[in-house]
């Protein structure tokens, strides 16, 4: 075998240590969510009671509902706009650096900057803030991520089949529905799953654009408030559920993307 990298000083040890570093904190958290005792850090037997108690915590349930609304609506808008944007860009053979920067910006602007910018903007417009303003904000970065996933797929797209479809008399809409969409569908779904997860997990921008009062508290905002209050077994259980949801959605998204690369 042609190995360019020598396996000298305990490569295995490095891998074991790094994976221990990455997984022990999460594993402890998950394990403690099944802990019988009220003490958040000492093991005293297996129990699902903290999951049961979550189900009757109305603050958490309403935060979860808010998060679901924000994530679903912002993902739907971002997927539509991001996909159209990706097709529009890849259609043209050349585009300026400015356009590239504009689409790249939402992915690299520090959250705190976008958060205060939107807060200033909404309050200057005297807009009442709530779930709708969080949605407006989440679409900004979500559409950029959807766009980049779909664009990656379109890089290898053979535009001549679109021409062929048009030459055979199909309308633009039919061509899109029957030719373009089937090709990019896995990327669109992958992008949507990514957007959904980003939105479910996003805290800072939601925190700044949610407005006053508890009515539009999202799950990450609720978790932040609970963490500041102290460690409780309930947070461990909630954290485990949220992690499971994000990891499942993103693994699915990755699968779809890998399918694309494999083709």
């Amino acid at each position: 075998m042609n190995q360019s990298l020598t396996r000298t000083f305990g490569m295995r040890t490095i891998l074991v240590l790094v994976f221990a570093f990455l997984y022990i904190p999460i594993a402890v958290l998950v394990a403690l969510s099944f802990n019988e005792g009220g003490l958040p850090t000492a093991w005293s037997g297996f129990s699902l009671k903290w999951y049961v108690s979550l189900a009757s915590n109305s603050a958490i349930l309403s935060a979860a509902l808010n998060t679901l609304i924000v994530a679903l609506v912002s993902t739907a808008i971002a997927t539509l706009l991001g996909t159209l944007l990706a097709i529009g860009i890849e259609m043209r053979r050349q585009y300026g650096k400015g356009l590239e920067a504009l689409i790249f910006a939402p992915m690299i602007i520090p959250d705190i900057v976008l958060a205060i910018a939107l807060l200033s903007f909404f309050s200057m417009l005297n807009l009442t803030m709530g779930l709708h303003t969080i949605i407006f904000a989440h679409v900004v970065f979500n559409l950029a991520f959807v766009c980049s996933v779909v664009r990656a797929r379109l890089k290898s797209f053979d535009w001549s089949i679109v021409e062929a479809s048009a030459d055979l008399g199909a309308s633009a809409l039919t061509t899109f529905r029957r030719v373009t969409l089937p090709v990019i569908a896995p990327a669109v779904i992958a992008g949507a799953l990514l957007a959904f997860t980003l939105s479910v997990d996003e805290f800072i921008i939601a925190f700044f654009t949610a407005g006053a009062g508890r009515a539009s508290t999202t799950l990450p905002m609720q978790i932040y408030a609970m963490i500041r209050f102290g460690i409780t077994p309930e947070i461990n259980a909630l954290a485990t559920i949220v992690m499971a949801v994000s990891i499942t959605a993103l693994t699915l998204s990755q699968r779809l993307n890998r399918g694309i690369i494999g083709q």
Binding site: N2, Q3, S4, L5, T6, M11, I14, L15, V18, F19, F21, L22, I24, P25, I26, V28, L29, L32, P40, T41, A42, G82, L84, L85, I87, G88, I89, M91, R92, L102, A105, P106, P110, D111, I112, V113, L114, I116, A117, S120, F121, V139, V140, A144, W159, V162, A166, T197, D201, F203, I204, F208, P220, I223, Y224, I227, I231, N236, A239, S246
Partner: protein, 291 residues
């Protein structure tokens, strides 16, 4: 060309309008805000001033900037060293295992940031796992205070951003031409020299990309210092937060945010320079093998 640019523009228009209205305009607004004066009762007084930027360089706030840079810099250094070692170990593993290792290295990155940070509170608190391990080994003294220290903040930042460094460093390591290292060894270079003179220079772009990512996200971070530093270690992100939500000095907060963006742009430019120089090295090395 078959596709009229007008149709392409039509497809791009809704997204670009969204970005213009909800990103470009708000960011321009913040930039403008930074040049106004704070009103006596909070609020904004619309008279032009450069005071806010002057205040950024006030020793009190400049200190927080330096502090943030030091914490972010340390986190970057630690993350790059661990991340590079991990990426190297993965790239040296048998081919079929590499995607599996990589997948599991990145997986934690996909869970919620707040939760990953909270996991460290669970570990580091006075009755946490580390204290219990120490007791198990026979330690009987006071529980060590690890939470709410600068070390905790750095550990949290490294933990959160390590997967990206591994990913960024793995890319150039896995693409290395095996013949280069072989040639170096055949010419009598030791493994260490081969690493230092051949492998490391060729993988600088990955290191630079990973380092920039960690540094930029760390220096503007507000969650980790707030949770793991217990509010004792203010970083720029926390300062911006305070100006907008507690001190109610929006113009100064805006100036701080602009300073943050300026630092970010400088770092990105440095990265582009490093990548350029490295690609010069790479083409040199490539030329050597051709000849």
């Amino acid at each position: 060309m078959k596709y009229a640019p007008s149709r392409s523009s039509l497809l791009m228009a809704p997204a670009l309008a969204w970005l213009a209205a909800l990103m470009v305009v708000p960011c321009a607004l913040v930039l403008a805000l930074a040049f106004f004066r704070r009103g006596i009762y909070g609020g904004i007084e619309y008279t032009f001033t450069l005071e806010n930027f002057g205040l950024v360089f006030d020793p009190l706030y400049a200190g927080i900037f330096l502090n943030s840079a030091r914490i972010a810099g340390t986190a970057t250094l630690v993350a790059v060293v661990i991340g590079y070692a991990a990426a190297y170990a993965i790239a040296a593993a048998p081919r079929r295992w590499q995607p599996v290792f990589l997948f599991f290295a990145v997986l934690p990155f996909w869970s919620n940031y707040l939760i990953r940070t909270y996991a460290w509170i669970v570990l580091l608190n006075r009755e946490g796992l580390i204290t219990q391990l120490l007791r198990w080994f026979g330690y009987t003294g006071e529980p060590p205070s690890m939470l709410y220290t600068e070390g905790a903040v750095i550990a949290g930042l490294v933990y959160n951003y390590l997967p990206f460094v591994i990913l960024a460093c793995y890319a150039p390591l896995s693409r290395l031409n095996p013949e280069l290292a072989e040639a170096s060894r055949d010419l009598g270079a030791s493994a260490a020299t081969t690493f230092r003179r051949v492998i490391l220079p060729l993988t600088v772009p990955g290191i630079a990309a990973g380092a920039v990512f960690v540094f930029v996200l760390s220096i503007g971070n507000f969650v980790t210092p707030a949770l793991l530093g217990g509010g004792r270690f203010q970083m720029i992100g926390n300062l911006v937060y305070d100006q907008f939500l507690t001190a109610n000095d929006w113009p100064f907060g805006a100036a701080l945010a602009m300073a943050l963006i300026a630092i970010m742009l400088l770092v990105l430019m440095a990265q582009a320079l490093a990548a350029n120089r490295a690609s010069g090295h790479a083409s040199q090395a490539g030329g050597d093998t051709d000849g």
